[in-house]
């Protein structure tokens, strides 16, 4: 069960994960790897959700709590025909420095993968989770419906990164909800750097507890003909809760991207949202929809957005430092999607940098 063939290793590479550091791999509906390594021993449990529901009956009070079974056709489908998903349980006060890696893969044509993940971060725990979702290169016409419910107990800290690497045939519908208790801290990262037919998602983060805080970052490279509609909603429900949404989008050839962001201030709270987009080619669109909704006179919400081509002043400036135009643009794009703030593993950081360079080997129109 712990042997991965070359085919899977290649697909894992696309989302920056290797077999060696994987803890859970689901291929279609089959668990092909499940490993609790030394770093996780006595600190965390990771297993298939179908198995977990049998083993730990207490998790039923969390399962389907934030997402309702019948809220849409997508949720109904997952409820009626569950193909798997991971259960990650980070135990009380456990501090895990290595990221917990999971991967959801599709390996058959016309396959519709329906998964439901559950993460429980117990009181005082600290961890990083990376989830990669992808399909093998030879597969066509796939659909991925991924439900994820995440619970952070008091004082828990969780950094959750979702990395998508699809192809032009894939339809992707993730539904993610997160609940934060008192003093907990949640960082949500979303990275999508490859082509995709159609992605639609809008995770909702409920900052319920007093002093709970959340940051949601997205780095999107919308490639040829991709249709991307992603966003984040943060509900600032707890006293002194804080929320931050950062999106960086690069739109290239014929892609359409909608970036949404919504901050709901329902208590004394603070929220800030930033969305910046660079449009590289003609016939490319980025539509930013930032929304601020303050329902309490002690809620402070703000936003900043900018869309356009690469700033000519920055190009000029770098050219006076000796770079040619292409090198200057490349450096600006690299800086724009600099993934450092996500605190990702080095190999994924390197991949992002490589992508900006690859793109610039093609001619950039003004």
């Amino acid at each position: 069960m712990q042997e991965c063939d070359k085919r899977i290793e290649n697909t894992l590479n696309k989302v920056g994960i290797s077999e060696k550091n994987s803890n859970y791999i689901l291929e279609n509906e089959k668990v092909i790897l499940n490993l609790i390594n030394e770093a996780l021993k006595n600190k965390a449990i990771i297993m298939d959700i179908r198995e977990a529901l049998k083993k730990y009956s207490w998790i039923k009070k969390y399962f389907w709590k934030l997402i309702k079974k019948n809220e849409s056709n997508l949720t109904k489908k997952v409820y009626e025909n569950l193909n798997g998903g991971y259960f990650i349980w980070i135990k009380k006060n456990a501090k895990i420095s290595f990221p917990i890696n999971s991967c959801l893969l599709i390996s058959s044509d016309n396959y519709e993968q329906k998964v439901h993940n559950l993460i429980i971060a117990e009181e005082g725990s600290e961890a990083k989770i990376i989830t990669g979702c992808s399909e093998h290169d030879y597969v066509n016409n796939v659909k991925h419906i991924g439900l994820t419910e995440i619970f952070l107990e008091k004082n828990a800290k969780l950094n959750f990164t979702m990395i998508h690497s699809w192809k032009e045939d894939a339809i992707v519908r993730p539904i993610t909800r997160i609940e934060l208790k008192e003093n907990s801290e949640f960082v949500n990262n979303y990275v999508c750097l490859e082509k995709v037919k159609d992605i639609k998602m809008n995770p909702i983060i409920y900052c319920k507890g007093k002093n709970s805080r959340s940051i949601s970052n997205s780095i999107i490279f919308a490639k040829e003909k991709s249709n991307i509609d992603v966003g984040t909603t943060i509900e600032l429900l707890g006293l002194n809760s804080r929320g931050e949404i950062n999106s960086r989008v690069i739109g290239s050839k014929d892609s359409k991207t909608i970036v949404r962001g919504r901050l709901n201030g329902k208590n004394k709270s603070k929220g800030h949202m930033e969305c910046h987009g660079i449009i590289l080619h003609k016939n490319t669109s980025i539509h930013a929809i930032p929304e601020l909704d303050a329902q309490n006179n002690k809620a402070e919400l703000s936003h900043e957005a900018s869309l356009g081509k690469i700033n000519q002043k920055e190009i000029n400036y770098l050219m006076t430092r000796g770079l040619n135009e292409k090198e200057a643009k490349s450096l600006i794009i690299r800086g724009f999607i600099n993934p450092e703030f996500l605190k990702l593993p080095i190999n994924i950081e390197k991949k992002l940098i490589q992508i900006s360079q690859n793109t610039l080997t093609k001619k950039l129109t003004k």
Binding site: Q312, N316, T320, G322, G335, F336, E340
Partner: protein, 240 residues
């Protein structure tokens, strides 16, 4: 022989003529100061020399080191040996000061000199993002000197800088020019920086032209006394 020669240069930005049939000669091994009221074309002149593409040259020539550079790109002009310190440099997100210094120094050692410029704690920071006015100026001059130019173009090194920083920057520019036998064109409004570096020649610009040249101290004294109004009415205006 002049290091830089500008003959009958006219420049447009967005269809507006901002440099008007301008002539200028810069000798080797000297610091020249450019005076003039706001909007007289001082910054535009420096940006035209360095070849920024939105400064469209409609006539005239720029000769540097016996080579025509009129229609060259900024990176080509930089390679010829001209470098510009901007008055308002852009902030570039995700690009670190360290990376820019590496580019300017062509990957040579810059750590020590960055320390001297009190920028060693800024190396990992995004370029100019949340830098104070003084920090931006120090970063600009540091980049300028790392590029080892033969001609330094410095746009208002003394605006928004405290006395100590100004003394330091003045000293550094002076040292560089002296040691490397290079030239510099400096724009200043109040002339504060001139206390710390040795400039002899001054030019006054008005409406995109050089209207007067002479001893820096004398020009500065006159401007302080009569303002640029005095320049307009001056009998010694160069007629071209």
């Amino acid at each position: 022989m002049s290091l830089l020669k500008i003959n009958n240069l006219s420049v447009k930005v967005n269809e507006k003529k901002i440099i008007n049939d301008l002539n200028l000669k810069i000798n080797p091994n000297e610091i020249t100061v450019l005076f003039g009221p706001n909007g007289s074309g001082k910054t535009s002149l420096l940006k035209s020399i360095i070849g920024l593409p939105n400064y469209k040259k409609i006539s005239g020539k720029i000769i540097f080191n016996n080579k025509e550079i009129t229609n060259k790109k900024p990176n080509e002009i930089q390679k010829e040996g001209i470098a510009l310190a901007f008055q308002n440099p852009p902030e570039i997100k995700g690009v670190k000061l360290k990376e820019i210094l590496k580019i300017c120094s062509e990957k040579k050692e810059f750590q020590e000199v960055a320390k001297e410029f009190k920028l060693n704690n800024f190396l990992e920071r995004d370029l100019n993002l949340n830098f104070s006015g003084g920090e931006k100026k120090r970063a600009e001059i540091l980049q300028l000197l790392l590029m080892k130019p033969k001609l330094l173009l410095i746009d208002e090194p003394d605006s928004g800088v405290d006395v100590e920083s100004m003394r330091f920057l003045g000293k550094k520019i002076n040292e560089y020019v002296k040691e490397n036998k290079t030239s510099a064109i400096i724009i200043t409004h109040q002339g504060e920086i001139l206390k710390y570096l040795k400039a002899r020649k001054g030019f006054v610009m008005l409406n995109g032209r050089i209207i007067c040249h002479g001893n820096v101290k004398k020009i500065l004294k006159d401007i302080k006394k009569k303002g640029y109004e005095g320049c307009v009415n001056c009998k010694n205006v160069i007629k071209e």
